[in-house]
Amino acid sequence: MSQGINVRGYLSQQELRNAPGYPSQERLARGPIVAIECIEEIPCNPCEQACPQHAIIIGKPITNRPYLDEDKCIGCGLCIPQCPGQAILLIDLTYSQGAASVAFPYEYLPLPKEGQTVRAVNRAGESVCSGTVIKVQNPKKNDQTPVVTVAVQRKYATEVRGILRSRGRESG
């Protein structure tokens, strides 16, 4: 694991494959599901309490890693803003012909606008493809953690982890 999360700061492919919260290829192909990129034994469990379907299991002790019951997850996305580690994203490989959608927490200003074309970035912050913002959700229960959904070419869907921040400050 010399090139893994605690050296590079992001998960390697191998770490992702072994993560108990990462869905299988078969399940991903069937439609929207979350990917929980949280693999260290940290004392944390709001994700477990956030899921009305009981699809996320931590149990006791609280340092257990989140396990995803991929048959129970309906892809509602409710858990995304509740995770203090911003480790949960929602992937829908069946979004449209050729395109997939990826939803992730985004706590920066200015927020992107629906319909805007953006650059999608991977776990290392490198720009990988362009994307279209299809949803920006920030209801009160998100407690200031907006969730942004972008549509990207399907082949990039499992790499995309966010969007390039716009550096310009909002005028006015």
């Binding site: 609280i62 911003q86 912050g125």
Partner: protein, 382 residues
Amino acid sequence: MREVDLSIVGAGPAGLAAAIEGAKRGCSTVALDMNPRPGGQLIKQIHKFFGSREHHAGTRGIEIADTLLHEAESAGVEVLIGAEVYAIHDSILEVAQTFGGDSPPPLSGGATTSQSRPLSIEARQIVLATGGAENALNFPGWTLPGVMGAGAAQTMSNVWRVLPGERVLMVGAGNVGLIVSYQLLQAGAEIVAVIEAAPRIGGYGVHAAKIRRAGVPILTSHTVVRASGESRVEQAVIVKVDASWGTVPGSEEELDVDTICIAVGLRPNARLASLAGCKFDYSPSLGGWVPIHNTRMHTTVPGIYLAGDLSGIEEASTALEEGRLAGICAASSLSKGHVGDSEEIEAIEERLLSLRSGPFCQRLQDAKQKLIEIGEAQCPKE
């Protein structure tokens, strides 16, 4: 001279929790805090907390501070702000109150002694919850304006809404370095790099991942060797560190930055505990010199308890639990305990144990265990 049952020094999560438990049990309780706003570090923690529901997980620190203050108020705790305890002898606290009550805090945010009011408080029991202090790092140029503790940068940005700089080098990839980097990004600064002398990132992977995907490089096995600039930081020189902590010749790299934040750990802020005569033990895993205490958070000095980072650098969640424990035990030593307190204490101990489980906390848990064992032998029993 004011007389109270219980006086708490430091109104952060540990101190407020202790004050709430004490006051709920009928102790007349005063909580003193030297800052213009109570809440300790919580008031600058704008991120959502980890932990479980009992520890307000998923809630932002600043909201936890509001909840605690509200609880303290309704329990009847008197919170004095701008109140700096400068001496402690027999069970008397000598306090300089620089503002508070009806007078507004000074604009500088600091103490102005000419205006301070002296106050003596005799407390039957005392809980010290003075928190932690940031460690410094010395290198040529470290006194230039622009070099500051990561906690200081966080206070500037999140409490006073002043961006400390535009281009920041963060030194230290523990949770503090990672979280403050993220918050400075949110505030509009650029984090040029986060460097870490150890070969591994010390903080949680999820915090590291957050700033990595925002494009911030994290360089392990790197340290800062020099800062330069005319009247403030303009450049930082970083260098690779080898396996034996030596610098690698020829690996120097110059970065254009206007701010260098130091996040190389915290230590217990123990000056008052030392003045009070508490005995100490040295424990690197807990942050350095730590006052010895037993399972009931009692120090080696009769009538003086402690809680939170003062008893070893940990998290706000553990500080809350230790504070509760100290408050309950201090009240019970005044025969003001509630029925059911022993079950309550057991429940707290269980939660503390679970918070300290897992690989991130193993060393800390062992160190705490050792400190408490010493405490069981040396601290007075009620």
